[in-house]
Protein backbone atom coordinates (compact mmCIF):
# COMPACT_ATOMS: atom_id res chain seq x y z
CA UNK A 1 0.00 0.00 0.00
CA UNK A 2 1.84 2.99 -1.25
CA UNK A 3 1.14 6.52 -0.29
CA UNK A 4 -1.33 8.10 -2.60
CA UNK A 5 0.49 11.36 -2.70
CA UNK A 6 3.28 10.38 -5.03
CA UNK A 7 2.63 11.04 -8.64
CA UNK A 8 4.29 8.67 -11.06
CA UNK A 9 2.80 5.25 -11.66
CA UNK A 10 4.88 2.29 -10.80
CA UNK A 11 7.02 0.73 -13.44
CA UNK A 12 7.06 3.60 -15.86
CA UNK A 13 9.77 2.68 -18.32
CA UNK A 14 12.34 5.39 -18.65
CA UNK A 15 12.03 5.75 -22.36
CA UNK A 16 13.19 9.27 -22.58
CA UNK A 17 16.61 8.68 -21.07
CA UNK A 18 17.72 6.09 -23.61
CA UNK A 19 18.02 8.12 -26.78
CA UNK A 20 20.07 10.74 -25.06
CA UNK A 21 23.05 8.89 -23.67
CA UNK A 22 25.65 8.01 -26.17
CA UNK A 23 26.59 4.54 -25.19
CA UNK A 24 24.30 3.23 -22.54
CA UNK A 25 24.41 -0.48 -21.74
CA UNK A 26 21.13 -2.20 -22.28
CA UNK A 27 20.17 -3.66 -18.95
CA UNK A 28 20.64 -1.11 -16.25
CA UNK A 29 18.12 -1.69 -13.51
CA UNK A 30 20.21 0.53 -11.32
CA UNK A 31 19.49 3.42 -13.61
CA UNK A 32 15.80 3.10 -13.06
CA UNK A 33 14.38 4.46 -9.86
CA UNK A 34 13.86 1.46 -7.61
CA UNK A 35 11.77 3.04 -4.92
CA UNK A 36 8.63 5.02 -4.68
CA UNK A 37 10.74 7.92 -3.51
CA UNK A 38 12.66 7.73 -6.69
CA UNK A 39 9.74 7.89 -9.09
CA UNK A 40 10.65 9.90 -12.06
CA UNK A 41 7.92 12.47 -12.31
CA UNK A 42 9.58 14.39 -15.07
CA UNK A 43 7.55 14.49 -18.24
CA UNK A 44 8.53 15.17 -21.83
CA UNK A 45 9.24 11.84 -23.44
CA UNK A 46 10.71 13.54 -26.46
CA UNK A 47 14.05 15.19 -26.58
CA UNK A 48 15.21 18.03 -28.69
CA UNK A 49 18.56 16.53 -29.55
CA UNK A 50 19.28 14.93 -32.85
CA UNK A 51 19.24 11.52 -31.31
CA UNK A 52 21.97 9.01 -31.50
CA UNK A 53 20.09 5.99 -30.31
CA UNK A 54 22.74 3.35 -30.13
CA UNK A 55 22.12 1.39 -27.00
CA UNK A 56 24.00 -1.66 -28.13
CA UNK A 57 26.94 0.29 -29.36
CA UNK A 58 25.79 0.06 -32.94
CA UNK A 59 26.83 3.27 -34.51
CA UNK A 60 24.51 5.50 -36.38
CA UNK A 61 26.85 7.64 -38.36
CA UNK A 62 24.83 10.82 -38.45
CA UNK A 63 22.28 12.28 -36.10
CA UNK A 64 18.90 12.08 -37.71
CA UNK A 65 16.36 14.80 -37.45
CA UNK A 66 13.77 12.59 -35.87
CA UNK A 67 15.23 10.29 -33.31
CA UNK A 68 12.32 7.93 -33.29
CA UNK A 69 12.53 6.35 -36.74
CA UNK A 70 15.98 4.74 -36.59
CA UNK A 71 15.43 3.88 -32.94
CA UNK A 72 12.32 1.81 -33.33
CA UNK A 73 13.34 0.36 -36.62
CA UNK A 74 16.03 -1.69 -34.97
CA UNK A 75 14.39 -4.78 -33.49
CA UNK A 76 17.37 -5.60 -31.31
CA UNK A 77 17.25 -2.30 -29.50
CA UNK A 78 13.51 -2.58 -29.20
CA UNK A 79 13.74 -5.92 -27.52
CA UNK A 80 16.62 -4.79 -25.38
CA UNK A 81 14.68 -1.77 -24.25
CA UNK A 82 11.68 -3.87 -23.37
CA UNK A 83 13.87 -6.26 -21.43
CA UNK A 84 15.58 -3.47 -19.61
CA UNK A 85 12.38 -1.80 -18.63
CA UNK A 86 10.86 -5.01 -17.41
CA UNK A 87 13.95 -5.64 -15.31
CA UNK A 88 13.63 -2.16 -13.91
CA UNK A 89 9.98 -2.66 -13.04
CA UNK A 90 10.74 -5.97 -11.40
CA UNK A 91 13.55 -4.50 -9.35
CA UNK A 92 11.36 -1.63 -8.29
CA UNK A 93 8.62 -3.94 -7.10
CA UNK A 94 11.11 -5.97 -5.13
CA UNK A 95 12.54 -2.96 -3.34
CA UNK A 96 9.11 -1.51 -2.69
CA UNK A 97 7.97 -4.74 -1.14
CA UNK A 98 10.96 -5.02 1.12
CA UNK A 99 11.53 -1.45 2.16
CA UNK A 100 8.26 -1.36 4.05
CA UNK A 101 9.53 -4.11 6.26
CA UNK A 102 12.37 -2.00 7.59
CA UNK A 103 11.19 1.57 7.41
CA UNK A 104 7.46 2.15 7.84
CA UNK A 105 7.26 4.75 5.14
CA UNK A 106 3.55 5.50 5.36
CA UNK A 107 3.76 5.89 9.11
CA UNK A 108 6.66 8.26 8.68
CA UNK A 109 4.64 10.33 6.27
CA UNK A 110 2.11 10.98 9.03
CA UNK A 111 4.82 12.57 11.13
CA UNK A 112 5.88 14.84 8.33
CA UNK A 113 2.38 16.07 7.51
CA UNK A 114 3.14 19.48 8.92
CA UNK A 115 2.95 22.99 7.70
CA UNK A 116 4.65 26.24 8.56
CA UNK A 117 1.94 27.45 10.92
CA UNK A 118 2.12 24.25 12.92
CA UNK A 119 5.90 24.44 13.16
CA UNK A 120 5.74 28.03 14.34
CA UNK A 121 3.13 27.30 16.97
CA UNK A 122 4.90 24.19 18.16
CA UNK A 123 8.19 26.00 18.56
CA UNK A 124 6.39 28.62 20.60
CA UNK A 125 4.83 25.89 22.69
CA UNK A 126 8.20 24.28 23.32
CA UNK A 127 9.60 27.51 24.66
CA UNK A 128 6.51 28.66 26.52
CA UNK A 129 4.18 25.81 27.46
CA UNK A 130 2.68 27.45 30.50
CA UNK A 131 -0.45 28.96 29.05
CA UNK A 132 -1.56 26.05 26.92
CA UNK A 133 -4.62 24.39 28.35
CA UNK A 134 -5.64 21.42 26.32
CA UNK A 135 -2.93 18.83 25.72
CA UNK A 136 -5.06 16.05 24.30
CA UNK A 137 -4.44 14.85 20.79
CA UNK A 138 -7.63 14.88 18.80
CA UNK A 139 -8.69 11.67 17.18
CA UNK A 140 -10.70 11.11 14.08
CA UNK A 141 -12.29 7.70 13.86
CA UNK A 142 -9.64 5.92 15.85
CA UNK A 143 -6.65 7.44 14.12
CA UNK A 144 -4.90 10.47 15.49
CA UNK A 145 -5.28 13.60 13.47
CA UNK A 146 -2.33 14.74 11.37
CA UNK A 147 0.00 17.23 13.06
CA UNK A 148 -1.11 19.88 10.64
CA UNK A 149 -4.50 20.01 12.30
CA UNK A 150 -3.64 19.55 15.93
CA UNK A 151 -0.82 21.24 17.71
CA UNK A 152 -0.57 18.51 20.32
CA UNK A 153 0.29 15.79 17.86
CA UNK A 154 3.97 14.84 17.69
CA UNK A 155 5.86 15.31 14.46
CA UNK A 156 9.28 14.33 13.22
CA UNK A 157 10.13 17.38 11.17
CA UNK A 158 11.07 19.57 14.12
CA UNK A 159 13.21 16.95 15.88
CA UNK A 160 15.00 16.02 12.67
CA UNK A 161 15.73 19.61 11.68
CA UNK A 162 16.65 20.50 15.25
CA UNK A 163 19.10 17.63 15.38
CA UNK A 164 20.80 18.64 12.16
CA UNK A 165 20.87 22.29 13.19
CA UNK A 166 22.33 21.30 16.54
CA UNK A 167 25.20 19.46 14.85
CA UNK A 168 25.90 22.44 12.61
CA UNK A 169 25.70 24.89 15.49
CA UNK A 170 28.06 22.66 17.46
CA UNK A 171 30.47 22.79 14.55
CA UNK A 172 30.12 26.57 14.48
CA UNK A 173 30.75 26.83 18.22
CA UNK A 174 33.81 24.62 17.99
CA UNK A 175 35.00 26.64 15.03
CA UNK A 176 34.91 29.91 16.92
CA UNK A 177 37.02 28.31 19.60
CA UNK A 178 39.49 27.09 16.99
CA UNK A 179 38.82 23.54 17.95
CA UNK A 180 37.07 22.62 14.75
CA UNK A 181 37.83 19.88 12.31
CA UNK A 182 35.25 18.24 10.08
CA UNK A 183 35.56 14.86 11.69
CA UNK A 184 34.50 16.46 14.96
CA UNK A 185 31.16 17.12 13.31
CA UNK A 186 30.77 13.44 12.67
CA UNK A 187 31.79 12.74 16.25
CA UNK A 188 29.19 15.15 17.61
CA UNK A 189 26.55 13.68 15.39
CA UNK A 190 27.20 10.13 16.38
CA UNK A 191 27.46 10.89 20.08
CA UNK A 192 24.16 12.79 20.07
CA UNK A 193 22.55 9.99 18.12
CA UNK A 194 23.94 7.44 20.57
CA UNK A 195 22.49 9.34 23.52
CA UNK A 196 19.13 9.53 21.79
CA UNK A 197 19.12 5.81 21.11
CA UNK A 198 20.09 5.11 24.70
CA UNK A 199 17.25 7.27 25.97
CA UNK A 200 14.70 5.62 23.72
CA UNK A 201 15.82 2.14 24.71
CA UNK A 202 15.85 2.99 28.41
CA UNK A 203 12.37 4.47 28.31
CA UNK A 204 10.97 1.61 26.29
CA UNK A 205 12.49 -0.83 28.73
CA UNK A 206 11.04 0.92 31.75
CA UNK A 207 7.66 1.19 30.07
CA UNK A 208 7.81 -2.52 29.49
CA UNK A 209 8.82 -3.23 33.09
CA UNK A 210 6.10 -1.07 34.55
CA UNK A 211 3.61 -2.76 32.18
CA UNK A 212 1.99 0.38 31.07
CA UNK A 213 -0.76 0.09 28.52
CA UNK A 214 -0.08 3.06 26.38
CA UNK A 215 -0.41 3.99 22.77
CA UNK A 216 2.99 5.64 22.84
CA UNK A 217 4.78 4.25 19.82
CA UNK A 218 8.53 4.26 19.37
CA UNK A 219 8.38 6.96 16.74
CA UNK A 220 6.25 9.10 19.06
CA UNK A 221 8.88 8.67 21.72
CA UNK A 222 11.68 9.63 19.34
CA UNK A 223 9.71 12.71 18.39
CA UNK A 224 9.19 13.79 21.99
CA UNK A 225 12.79 13.17 22.90
CA UNK A 226 13.92 15.14 19.89
CA UNK A 227 12.19 18.30 21.00
CA UNK A 228 14.90 19.14 23.48
CA UNK A 229 17.33 19.92 20.66
CA UNK A 230 15.40 23.12 20.04
CA UNK A 231 16.29 24.40 23.48
CA UNK A 232 19.88 23.27 23.09
CA UNK A 233 20.27 25.18 19.85
CA UNK A 234 18.85 28.31 21.43
CA UNK A 235 21.18 28.02 24.39
CA UNK A 236 24.30 27.49 22.31
CA UNK A 237 23.51 30.32 19.90
CA UNK A 238 22.89 32.77 22.70
CA UNK A 239 26.01 31.48 24.41
CA UNK A 240 28.02 32.25 21.28
CA UNK A 241 26.68 35.77 21.15
CA UNK A 242 26.56 36.74 24.80
CA UNK A 243 28.91 34.39 26.62
CA UNK A 244 28.29 32.08 29.49
CA UNK A 245 25.69 34.22 31.24
CA UNK A 246 23.42 34.24 28.22
CA UNK A 247 23.95 30.54 27.72
CA UNK A 248 22.96 29.68 31.29
CA UNK A 249 19.93 31.96 31.23
CA UNK A 250 18.51 30.64 27.99
CA UNK A 251 19.40 27.06 28.75
CA UNK A 252 17.79 27.32 32.19
CA UNK A 253 14.61 28.72 30.69
CA UNK A 254 14.49 26.04 28.01
CA UNK A 255 15.18 23.29 30.54
CA UNK A 256 12.24 24.30 32.68
CA UNK A 257 10.02 24.64 29.64
CA UNK A 258 10.94 21.23 28.30
CA UNK A 259 10.39 19.74 31.74
CA UNK A 260 6.88 21.15 31.92
CA UNK A 261 6.18 20.25 28.29
CA UNK A 262 7.25 16.64 28.76
CA UNK A 263 5.32 16.20 31.97
CA UNK A 264 2.14 17.58 30.49
CA UNK A 265 2.47 15.55 27.33
CA UNK A 266 3.57 12.27 28.84
CA UNK A 267 1.06 12.47 31.61
CA UNK A 268 -1.68 11.96 29.10
CA UNK A 269 0.07 9.07 27.49
CA UNK A 270 1.49 7.13 30.39
CA UNK A 271 -0.73 7.81 33.32
CA UNK A 272 -4.19 6.42 33.49
CA UNK A 273 -7.05 8.51 32.29
CA UNK A 274 -8.29 9.35 35.80
CA UNK A 275 -4.96 10.54 37.03
CA UNK A 276 -4.50 12.65 33.95
CA UNK A 277 -7.57 14.61 34.82
CA UNK A 278 -5.97 15.59 38.09
CA UNK A 279 -7.86 13.21 40.32
CA UNK A 280 -5.28 11.47 42.48
CA UNK A 281 -5.63 7.74 42.20
CA UNK A 282 -4.14 5.57 44.87
CA UNK A 283 -2.18 2.53 44.06
CA UNK A 284 1.35 1.49 43.48
CA UNK A 285 0.98 1.31 39.72
CA UNK A 286 -0.04 4.87 39.29
CA UNK A 287 2.70 5.98 41.61
CA UNK A 288 5.21 4.06 39.56
CA UNK A 289 3.92 5.62 36.39
CA UNK A 290 4.13 9.05 37.88
CA UNK A 291 7.71 8.46 38.93
CA UNK A 292 8.49 7.22 35.44
CA UNK A 293 7.03 10.34 33.87
CA UNK A 294 8.97 12.54 36.26
CA UNK A 295 12.16 10.62 35.56
CA UNK A 296 11.79 10.95 31.82
CA UNK A 297 11.04 14.63 32.10
CA UNK A 298 13.93 15.22 34.48
CA UNK A 299 16.37 13.44 32.19
CA UNK A 300 15.78 16.02 29.48
CA UNK A 301 17.36 19.04 31.16
CA UNK A 302 20.27 16.89 32.29
CA UNK A 303 20.95 15.74 28.77
CA UNK A 304 20.50 19.23 27.42
CA UNK A 305 23.22 20.47 29.71
CA UNK A 306 25.47 17.47 29.14
CA UNK A 307 25.41 17.78 25.38
CA UNK A 308 26.07 21.50 25.22
CA UNK A 309 28.26 22.65 28.08
CA UNK A 310 31.48 21.78 26.32
CA UNK A 311 30.51 23.96 23.39
CA UNK A 312 30.35 27.22 25.24
CA UNK A 313 33.44 28.56 26.86
Amino acid sequence: MHAAGLAAPAGTPRLRKWPSKRRVPVSQPGMADPHQFFDDTSSAPTRGYGGQPSPGGLGYPSPSSSHEAPFLADPMSNMAMAYGSSLAAHGKELVDKNIDRFIPVTKLKYYFAVDTVYVGKKLGLLVFPYLHQDWEVQYQQDTPVAPRFDINAPDLYIPAMAFITYILVAGLALGTQDRFSPDLLGLQASSALAWLTLEVVAILLSLYLVTVNTDLTTIDLVAFLGYKYVGMIGGVLVGLLFGKIGYYLVLGWCCVSIFVFMIRTLRLKILAQAAAEGVPVRGARNQLRMYLTMAVAAAQPLLMYWLTFHLVR
Binding site: G5, L6, A7, A8, S20, K21, R22, D33, H35, F37, F38, D39, D40, T41, S42, S43, A44, R47, Y49, Q52, L108, K109, F112, A113, V114, D115, T116, V117, V119, Y157, A160, M161, I164, T165, L168, G171, L172, G175, F180, S181, P182, D183
Partner: protein
Protein backbone atom coordinates in the same frame (compact mmCIF):
# COMPACT_ATOMS: atom_id res chain seq x y z
CA UNK B 1 29.41 16.77 -26.88
CA UNK B 2 25.69 16.86 -26.58
CA UNK B 3 25.84 16.10 -22.91
CA UNK B 4 28.36 18.85 -22.42
CA UNK B 5 26.02 21.27 -24.09
CA UNK B 6 23.20 20.11 -21.83
CA UNK B 7 25.33 20.65 -18.77
CA UNK B 8 26.34 24.08 -20.01
CA UNK B 9 22.74 25.00 -20.67
CA UNK B 10 21.83 24.06 -17.13
CA UNK B 11 24.67 26.17 -15.77
CA UNK B 12 23.17 29.12 -17.58
CA UNK B 13 19.79 28.35 -16.06
CA UNK B 14 21.28 28.40 -12.60
CA UNK B 15 23.07 31.67 -13.14
CA UNK B 16 19.93 33.34 -14.42
CA UNK B 17 17.14 31.58 -12.59
CA UNK B 18 13.99 31.93 -14.59
CA UNK B 19 10.76 30.07 -14.37
CA UNK B 20 11.82 27.24 -16.59
CA UNK B 21 11.61 23.53 -16.26
CA UNK B 22 14.82 22.65 -17.99
CA UNK B 23 16.65 21.66 -14.83
CA UNK B 24 13.81 19.51 -13.66
CA UNK B 25 12.77 17.88 -16.88
CA UNK B 26 16.08 16.66 -18.19
CA UNK B 27 18.01 16.00 -15.06
CA UNK B 28 21.50 14.69 -15.10
CA UNK B 29 24.13 14.36 -12.46
CA UNK B 30 27.19 15.32 -14.48
CA UNK B 31 27.02 18.96 -13.50
CA UNK B 32 26.78 18.32 -9.77
CA UNK B 33 29.64 15.86 -10.01
CA UNK B 34 31.90 18.33 -11.81
CA UNK B 35 31.02 21.08 -9.35
CA UNK B 36 31.49 18.87 -6.32
CA UNK B 37 34.87 17.61 -7.49
CA UNK B 38 36.02 21.15 -8.29
CA UNK B 39 34.91 22.43 -4.92
CA UNK B 40 36.50 19.54 -3.07
CA UNK B 41 39.77 19.96 -4.94
CA UNK B 42 39.93 23.64 -4.23
CA UNK B 43 38.96 23.25 -0.61
CA UNK B 44 41.65 20.77 0.12
CA UNK B 45 44.20 22.00 2.53
CA UNK B 46 47.64 21.82 1.11
CA UNK B 47 48.93 19.98 4.11
CA UNK B 48 52.51 19.47 3.17
CA UNK B 49 53.51 19.65 6.80
CA UNK B 50 51.43 16.65 7.63
CA UNK B 51 49.01 18.17 10.12
CA UNK B 52 45.40 18.32 9.21
CA UNK B 53 44.04 21.25 11.06
CA UNK B 54 41.54 23.55 9.40
CA UNK B 55 40.98 22.36 5.90
CA UNK B 56 38.62 19.57 5.05
CA UNK B 57 39.88 16.63 3.12
CA UNK B 58 38.54 15.80 -0.30
CA UNK B 59 36.32 13.01 0.95
CA UNK B 60 34.78 15.15 3.68
CA UNK B 61 33.54 17.76 1.24
CA UNK B 62 32.16 15.05 -1.00
CA UNK B 63 30.36 13.37 1.89
CA UNK B 64 28.93 16.64 3.20
CA UNK B 65 27.62 17.65 -0.21
CA UNK B 66 26.08 14.37 -1.21
CA UNK B 67 24.66 13.40 2.16
CA UNK B 68 23.29 16.87 2.62
CA UNK B 69 21.60 16.71 -0.76
CA UNK B 70 20.16 13.28 -0.01
CA UNK B 71 18.83 14.47 3.35
CA UNK B 72 17.17 17.50 1.83
CA UNK B 73 15.60 15.35 -0.86
CA UNK B 74 14.27 12.86 1.69
CA UNK B 75 12.86 15.71 3.72
CA UNK B 76 11.20 17.18 0.68
CA UNK B 77 9.70 13.84 -0.29
CA UNK B 78 8.45 13.12 3.21
CA UNK B 79 6.85 16.54 3.38
CA UNK B 80 4.82 15.47 0.39
CA UNK B 81 6.51 17.15 -2.51
CA UNK B 82 5.99 15.87 -6.02
CA UNK B 83 9.55 16.03 -7.22
CA UNK B 84 11.53 12.91 -7.88
CA UNK B 85 14.65 11.91 -6.03
CA UNK B 86 17.15 12.49 -8.80
CA UNK B 87 15.53 15.68 -9.97
CA UNK B 88 16.01 17.14 -6.54
CA UNK B 89 19.60 15.96 -6.38
CA UNK B 90 20.20 17.52 -9.77
CA UNK B 91 18.79 20.89 -8.75
CA UNK B 92 20.70 21.02 -5.49
CA UNK B 93 23.92 20.01 -7.17
CA UNK B 94 23.66 22.55 -9.94
CA UNK B 95 22.90 25.35 -7.51
CA UNK B 96 26.31 24.86 -5.94
CA UNK B 97 27.67 26.71 -8.97
CA UNK B 98 27.53 30.21 -7.42
CA UNK B 99 29.41 28.94 -4.39
CA UNK B 100 32.07 27.37 -6.59
CA UNK B 101 32.49 30.75 -8.28
CA UNK B 102 32.77 32.28 -4.82
CA UNK B 103 35.48 29.77 -3.99
CA UNK B 104 37.45 30.76 -7.05
CA UNK B 105 37.13 34.44 -6.20
CA UNK B 106 38.15 33.77 -2.59
CA UNK B 107 41.20 31.89 -3.77
CA UNK B 108 42.23 34.80 -5.95
CA UNK B 109 41.60 37.32 -3.19
CA UNK B 110 43.63 35.26 -0.75
CA UNK B 111 46.62 35.53 -3.07
CA UNK B 112 46.83 39.15 -2.00
CA UNK B 113 47.55 38.14 1.58
CA UNK B 114 45.30 37.92 4.58
CA UNK B 115 43.87 40.66 6.73
CA UNK B 116 40.58 42.18 7.87
CA UNK B 117 39.82 43.93 4.57
CA UNK B 118 40.55 40.71 2.78
CA UNK B 119 38.16 38.94 5.09
CA UNK B 120 35.46 41.54 4.53
CA UNK B 121 35.69 41.14 0.77
CA UNK B 122 35.52 37.39 1.05
CA UNK B 123 32.62 37.57 3.47
CA UNK B 124 30.72 39.83 1.11
CA UNK B 125 31.36 37.65 -1.92
CA UNK B 126 30.44 34.44 -0.13
CA UNK B 127 27.31 36.00 1.33
CA UNK B 128 26.13 37.19 -2.07
CA UNK B 129 26.79 33.83 -3.69
CA UNK B 130 25.13 32.02 -0.82
CA UNK B 131 22.00 34.13 -1.29
CA UNK B 132 22.14 33.44 -5.03
CA UNK B 133 22.37 29.69 -4.46
CA UNK B 134 19.48 29.65 -2.06
CA UNK B 135 17.31 31.77 -4.32
CA UNK B 136 18.15 29.68 -7.37
CA UNK B 137 17.36 26.40 -5.70
CA UNK B 138 14.17 27.63 -4.09
CA UNK B 139 13.02 28.89 -7.47
CA UNK B 140 13.10 25.29 -8.64
CA UNK B 141 12.28 23.37 -5.48
CA UNK B 142 9.62 25.49 -3.87
CA UNK B 143 7.26 24.91 -6.75
CA UNK B 144 7.00 21.28 -5.85
CA UNK B 145 5.52 22.02 -2.44
CA UNK B 146 2.14 23.45 -1.53
CA UNK B 147 2.41 27.06 -0.37
CA UNK B 148 1.92 26.36 3.31
CA UNK B 149 5.04 24.21 3.42
CA UNK B 150 7.46 26.09 1.26
CA UNK B 151 9.38 27.52 4.19
CA UNK B 152 9.73 24.06 5.72
CA UNK B 153 11.29 22.67 2.57
CA UNK B 154 13.55 25.69 2.10
CA UNK B 155 15.04 25.67 5.59
CA UNK B 156 17.25 22.58 5.11
CA UNK B 157 18.41 23.97 1.77
CA UNK B 158 19.43 27.11 3.62
CA UNK B 159 21.36 25.02 6.16
CA UNK B 160 23.05 23.02 3.42
CA UNK B 161 24.37 26.02 1.53
CA UNK B 162 25.28 27.67 4.82
CA UNK B 163 27.56 24.76 5.67
CA UNK B 164 29.23 24.93 2.26
CA UNK B 165 29.62 28.71 2.55
CA UNK B 166 31.12 28.27 5.98
CA UNK B 167 33.64 25.79 4.60
CA UNK B 168 34.54 28.22 1.83
CA UNK B 169 34.82 31.21 4.13
CA UNK B 170 37.05 29.51 6.66
CA UNK B 171 39.40 28.15 4.06
CA UNK B 172 42.96 29.31 4.42
CA UNK B 173 45.64 27.91 2.14
Amino acid sequence: MRDLKAVGKKFMHVLYPRKSNALLRDWDLWGPLILCVTLALMLQKSSVDGEKDGGPQFAEVFVVVWFGAVTITLNSKLLGGNISFFQSLCVLGYCILPLTVAMLICRLVLLAGQGPINFMIRLFVVAVMFAWSVIASTAFLADSQPPNRKALAVYPVFLFYFVISWMILTFTP
